[in-house]
Structures are given as C-alpha cells and as structure tokens.
Point group: C2
Chain length 114, copies 2
C-alpha cells in the first residue's frame, strides 16, 4: 500500500474498520470486486488499506470527491457481497464512517512521484 495522492481538501473519506473472521473462503474475490467497483466510479480519488494478519483487524480508507459517490459505491459493494457468501462469513464486526476531509498535511523523505 502507498499513501494515496489526494487533491487539496475538501473531499470525502469512507473509513472501514473490520474485525475479520477466520474464514478466508471467497474473501479475496469479494475484496477485489469492491476495489474494482471503487476504481470504476466517478469521484474516486484513491484508497489505502492495512491488514494485520496477527490480529485479523484492518482499516481501509477510500477517498472521494463527493459524499454521493460514496453512496453509489456502497450500493456496488453491497451488491458484490450479496452475490457471494455474505458479510457474516468474513467479518466478526465492522464499522463504516463517512467524513468530510477539511485539511491535510504530509511529510516525505523523497520527492513525490507526481
């Protein structure tokens, strides 16, 4: 994962915090479908994700130009999950927060790639 190259605020973020179950069957293809659905959506700005295999917890932050584009992606994501094995198989718990980014700042040792 690399830090997402987002534009100056304001923009929107969907923060998804998860406690994964021990069941990985079908999970990879569902996650891939959600990622591809995000990339295909107007308004998608970037995504960051970290998963710790030791604790099976994860955080995904996806960035969007409007709150409406997040709502549309949520419908895509729910459809992708419904077509497969269902959320109760892969997660013990999750929480989604939608927020409006008001400011940001960064630091890097190297010259940005853009």
């Amino acid at each position: 994962m690399a830090i997402a190259d987002t534009p100056p605020p304001p923009y929107y973020v969907a923060i998804i915090t998860v406690e994964r179950s021990d069941d990985d069957e079908g999970y990879g293809s569902m996650a891939e479908a959600m990622y591809e659905a995000a990339h295909a959506r107007d308004g998608f700005l970037g995504m960051e994700w970290v998963f710790d295999p030791a604790t099976r917890t994860g955080i995904t932050a996806s960035y969007w130009s409007t709150a409406e584009s997040i709502r549309e992606w949520k419908l895509d994501a729910e459809h992708a999950v419904a077509q497969r094995l269902g959320v109760e198989r892969w997660y013990n718990a999750y929480r989604v927060r939608v927020a409006r980014v008001e400011r940001d700042y960064e630091w890097a040792t190297s010259v940005p790639s853009h």
Copy 2:
C-alpha cells in the same frame, strides 16, 4: 485493536497513514507517549490502529468531539516527537487528514459490550 465505540455523529477523525522506516529504536516509547497524550485530552473519543509488519505501512484513526481537540493533540504529539529522535528516523512518509464524520453504520455478530 478493537473497533472504537464512538457516539453518534457528528464528531471528528484524524487519519494518519504512514510508511515506516526500518528503524525501531525509540519508536515504541514515542508511540506510547502519543497514545497517552490523546487519552489525557478533553474530547478524545477513541482510537483504532493497524500496522502490517510485512509492508511496514500503518493507518491510525483517532476520534474526537471537536477539531480544536485534534489541534491540541497535534501540538502534544509534535512535542513528544521533538523530545525524542525525530520524525525522519521512524518514517519514510506520512500523511494526516482531519475530517468531520457525518454518518456511520456498523455490524457485529455479538452483542456490543456497552
């Protein structure tokens, strides 16, 4: 890490995405100091963090009742870092985003602990 037990929106979040260096010297005590500084602050609502040792990337989301409480914590955090070895030792890059949470939803297989 457990999912933070935040109140109904609105509230604020500071999302810190990091690419860590290979140097762990002093990192633990600095991270502990930042965590304790957050807990001691008025307006602190909870914190979630995930670090993947394989990629050395991490995301920390801390939740706050106001944007002002995040600004005060940022000063504490900068002080904690300055007292120690410095940000350039522990990070290759980081980005901080401050956002206003407008809505959230959750799902859990078990009864919440509160």
